[in-house]
């Protein structure tokens, strides 16, 4: 039977990180119980859910208002791979984000005096191709204030969700933009062990940038991989 590599403390943040205040009362106190993976964990919803999903990868137009979203038009692309470097093909990648002013199209969004973009719904979906590549067109999200500490602002970020091939490959993360001065002040980003933080920051890629159209950013996503020596097909999904 397959076995997926379990999450490592070197790669992931702890459950509780005092500087991100709401983790303190929302984290487990007992250690997790180690249990061998069974068929319930090496299977998962990713393949079936992806097969049913449709691409909705242009966030600048998917409000369907007839007007484009306002902001720095940006292309976000990258590969979804497993730890062995094998592409995770045909897999649904879902994103959500604030608009260019830092406003979320959510009914309970924190209010602050910045204009909402009525032509931006702020979420999308894209299935990876055979090489594991996804590609979104969106606008760069704005930073926004939050209540964690005095004068707290989240750096610009895009939320990414990938189910992956198995239950235990579930990943939700946030992609940040290079050179953002707010990164050095952000407790959510800083909860990640320092050597791993850079994996959450996209690279500006001029070869992705399109003339007269949009800036290009590259962000690869690496999911837990199977422990066994990879073969050509390992970690790859075919329908």
């Amino acid at each position: 039977m397959k076995r997926y590599n379990p999450p490592s403390v070197a790669d992931h943040p702890p459950f509780s990180h005092a500087a991100y205040r709401s983790t303190v009362k929302r984290s487990p106190a007992f250690d997790a119980i180690l249990v061998p993976q069974t068929i319930s964990e090496i299977t998962g919803p990713g393949p079936a859910v992806s097969a049913l999903a449709e691409d909705d990868a242009d966030l600048t137009t998917n409000a369907h208002t007839g007007s484009a979203a306002i902001g720095e038009r940006s292309i976000l692309t990258g590969r979804v791979l497993d730890e062995n470097g094998a592409p995770v093909a045909g897999m649904l990648v879902e994103i959500w984000q604030a608009d260019a002013s830092g406003r979320y199209a959510h009914p309970r969004e924190k209010d602050f005096p910045a204009p909402r973009d009525p032509n931006f719904v702020g979420h999308g979906a894209c299935k990876t191709d055979g090489a594991g590549v996804y590609r979104f067109t969106t606008v760069k999200p704005g930073p926004y204030p939050w209540g964690n500490h005095d004068n707290a602002w989240r750096p610009a970020h895009v939320h990414f969700s990938v189910l992956g091939p198995a239950l235990v490959t579930r990943l939700v993360t946030q992609m940040y933009f290079p050179g953002d001065p707010l990164l050095s002040l952000d407790p959510i980003f800083h909860a990640v062990p320092e050597p791993a933080r850079g994996r959450l920051v996209a690279a500006y890629d001029h070869s992705v940038t399109m003339p007269n159209w949009a800036l290009g950013y590259r962000f690869d996503i690496v999911l837990a991989g199977v422990e066994e020596t990879p073969t050509e097909e390992a970690g790859t999904w075919r329908h």
């Binding site: 205040r21 009362k25 919803p45 999911l223």
Partner: protein, 194 residues
């Protein structure tokens, strides 16, 4: 040896429902499905306060014990047309409960060849959670199967009750209650599947 490093986890934040919930994603079966059950509960923080912005995802086998997944080798066990076995149940802003409707899963094999007790796999996320928490829901009325379950027997006996859903209503679809608790003596057992 892995050649790449895993992408670190980050919180889903308070606004995940913009993308990670669509109407009926917590209904795994139609209302007319035979054997339909309802599962509901709260996600409670260290003060016992029900969270208003947690997300529970479930994954399960169908009533025959078959997963809709290419790595389930039991091709002799039938799939159920239209049944994926995946659900997303956000906490309702008003009631502060999550709920989903599904069918009780059948039994699936454990690595040692035994049959696992019927269970749902749960992934709990939310604002203030930097990583997902994995747990399982078992049915309190499956006493015999639970006593021999491959995973439950690895849980200290005094904590097993935190993984049991109890039948609270039989009007209409049988309804099971399952609360998820962070911290305290009755903290839900969470797993790392190694």
């Amino acid at each position: 040896m892995a050649s790449l490093k895993q992408t670190p986890s980050q919180t889903v934040g308070p606004y995940y429902a913009m993308r990670l919930f669509a109407p009926d994603q917590n209904r795994l079966v139609p209302v007319s499905a035979p054997g339909r059950i309802r599962v509901e509960g709260c996600v409670l923080d260290a003060d016992g306060v029900p969270m208003e912005d947690a997300l529970v995802e479930i994954w399960q086998a169908n009533a025959h014990g078959r997963f809709r997944h290419p790595d389930d080798p039991r091709v002799d066990v039938p799939l159920t047309p239209g049944f994926v076995g995946f659900g997303r149940a956000p906490v309702d802003l008003e009631t502060r409960r999550f709920w989903f409707e599904t069918t009780k899963p059948g039994r699936v094999l454990a690595p040692d060849g035994s049959s696992q007790a019927p269970h749902l796999s749960l992934v709990v996320q939310g604002r203030g959670m930097l990583r997902p928490s994995f747990t399982r829901l078992y049915f309190a009325d499956e006493t015999t199967a639970n006593a021999a379950d491959f995973v439950l027997v690895r849980v200290p006996e005094a904590r097993r009750h935190t993984l049991l859903a109890h039948l609270v209503s039989s009007d209409g679809a049988p309804t099971y209650r399952f609360d998820i608790r962070f911290q305290g003596n009755d903290e839900t057992v969470f797993f790392v599947f190694d």
